[in-house]
Point group: C3
Chain length 286, copies 3
């Protein structure tokens, strides 16, 4: 069992030494492990955003250990945990605060879990404020060295882990979808919590929100969006997304992450939204 | 032929998982390849800025594959390409939108090129919006594994590739140089599209632009610039640059990337601008 | 003697190619060396901030070479230096401007030092503006290849190196501590230049500054801070730090790095500040 990669996500940012120190701690324990930075640009304490980023990444991550540190409750009674998925193919190490829940749900749940209460595998540390450096990183490094997860602490039932709170889109009797803005990427594209199959065959989508009513034409790709209009397409992680041509759809529509939108079919222009279904599809609501 | 390094430049930013996922895709195909991040901080869709950054970097990059993803036209009819330089010493993989043109021009042009139309070496992907992950990264990884570029698709004449649009400084009959601000670095230094040989021997340079008329004294290094004055020097990539002492010359002069400036010789102070010529000089206009 | 890691800190930022080019230079000289990015997010020219970040990192860095490039005096008469610590366990390479002084002081001082005046180990470079790429990076890479530091240039007495200017907290006869804000991290926690032993046993600390008078209760960890109040705790690097619950203490108190604060014992609530003493403690003032 080779766990030769640690994929690392955090809200540490890159403006100080936190990421560099954490990696130094890992390589001091396992000099040969590869560390892949998923991102450290999660907004401070934004467990929801980190959980969504992990879910979007999950199908492309290398087998091994995922180290996730977005931990507003450090030092509180929140548990420090290691989750096993795929019967030992990968492990996720971090706080039990719902951070891993969306990614775990995508792969059918955790097959085992442990509370990290064996401090033999922790750094002595200073204070009680940086479990990323003193608890999670060393545990991830020891796992990658082949120390069994069962050595890290007390087993717990995965069903007792903190669930993720992910909004599920609701379709009412009239066919209107109550949706939420999951994510706005750096280009201003607006990802919704909507499986494209829910709008399959709609030639266009009417988007309604607070002081907002716009039609989005179904397109295959950003380049198909005509200037001045909004396009609705299947994005790179398999969810419905709204975009404009070389600009920010979020700014154009005045929407933010977490906003509620109502989607209805409209006859205005465009051709039906094409849906790709299959084992590679990412859909954190499921 | 060892292509054991992939040098990676993009406009993905580091605030989400795009860079981490793209690297995971590469390492899944070639676990041993080294990935060097040139930068991912190019402004969204700024092909010109990325092309200039690549040109500034080119002489220091390791032999191997350059993966460039600044791709506002993803999903459009713009071609996805692989360019060969140095008869196989290095390959550049990305969109055919002029991104590679300045760097390619510096090394005397591409020796061969292919359209990436063999999807055997692509990821199946989701949607058509993330060719960086689904097309360019896997192609770069397979190249680094020793798969020949000719397997990636249909050969095309490099002369048919999209040219880069780089402003060339013009000297008029009176000796005045019509120049452009190529780049403002994070310290506020103002790089011009001017080969220092064009101002060799000038003791000082008068800089004129919109609401701007300032003299810049010729200096060898930032530390030679006296407080309150502007210095003109040969910067680290071999072009003429304007700077102030421990401050932002761009702010001091009120100039931005792309601004037009007129340069004339002036007798005010300083000593002649020294010019370094030789094989290491970088000059993207050539 | 294996110096197989280069730990790299700079003020280059990640928005351009400076970091990528510098790493390419290193790997061209030593393809096998591991480069750990401590951070490149130091504010431009902020030698004090970089010195503090290095001091906070020092005890966790891997043995090897530290490459530090925050160099406002590049091209001036400031010396380029290599410092040896631990009789050859590690080397620090960069400008002699006080950048390394706090970290060096923590390990008991440099055991030897050299001026980097042997340009056999430098890049020819262009201009005189980028010693990070042309001098410090190649020297660090050659050191990691096993070239002895004594080959890099002329030995100098470490006592002649530029000292760091670090504020030392002063306790007056009445027991009031004149302190300074050393660092505000990305979460808004306010690190003071105060060894927690100076406030050991205080149940709470009164913080007074310009238009500021607040009591901070002694807590063990962020999670113990009640909403609306300020907590005083031993932070992850062993210094006294002020924090609020899931928010920015710096914003809450209106303080900035470098601000002067007066600390006095107060009887209001809380329990005594617990102090961890021992070899792992970081205290840059010593």
């Amino acid at each position: 069992m080779a766990l030769d990669t640690i994929s690392f996500i955090s809200d540490f940012g890159l403006s100080d030494e936190s990421v560099g120190v954490t990696k130094s701690v890992i390589w001091a324990i396992n000099p040969r492990v590869r560390i892949v930075d998923i991102t450290h640009g999660i907004d401070a304490h934004d467990v929801r955003a980190a959980g969504l980023a992990l879910a979007r990444s999950a199908q492309h991550l290398l087998p091994g250990v995922v180290l996730g540190v977005v931990d507003p409750g450090v030092g509180s009674t929140r548990k420090a945990v290691c989750l096993e998925v795929g019967d030992g193919q990968s492990f996720l190490v971090g706080p039990d605060n719902g951070l891993f829940a969306p990614a775990i749900a995508m792969v059918g749940g955790a097959t085992a879990a442990w509370i990290l209460d064996n401090d033999e595998f922790h750094l002595p540390g200073i204070g009680s404020t940086f479990d990323g450096r003193d608890v999670f990183a060393p545990v991830a490094a020891h796992l990658s060295n082949g120390v069994p997860a069962s050595a890290m602490g007390t087993p717990i039932d995965p069903a007792l882990l903190m669930p993720g709170i992910l909004p599920v889109a609701q379709t009412d009797d009239a066919g209107a979808i109550a949706a939420e803005v999951l994510w706005i990427d750096r280009f201003g594209n607006v990802q919704l919590n909507v499986d494209p199959s829910a709008v399959a065959g709609w030639p266009a989508v009417r988007i309604e929100g607070d002081q907002l009513s716009r039609a989005a034409l179904a397109v295959d790709t950003y380049a198909d969006i005509t200037t001045g209009s909004i396009g609705a397409l299947v994005d790179a992680t398999g969810l419905l997304s709204l975009a404009v041509d070389r600009g920010s759809a979020a700014e154009e529509m005045g929407v933010h992450e977490g906003d509620q939108l109502t989607l209805t079919a409209t006859e205005v222009g465009g051709r039906p939204i094409a849906v790709t279904l299959g084992p590679t599809q990412v859909n954190p609501q499921r």
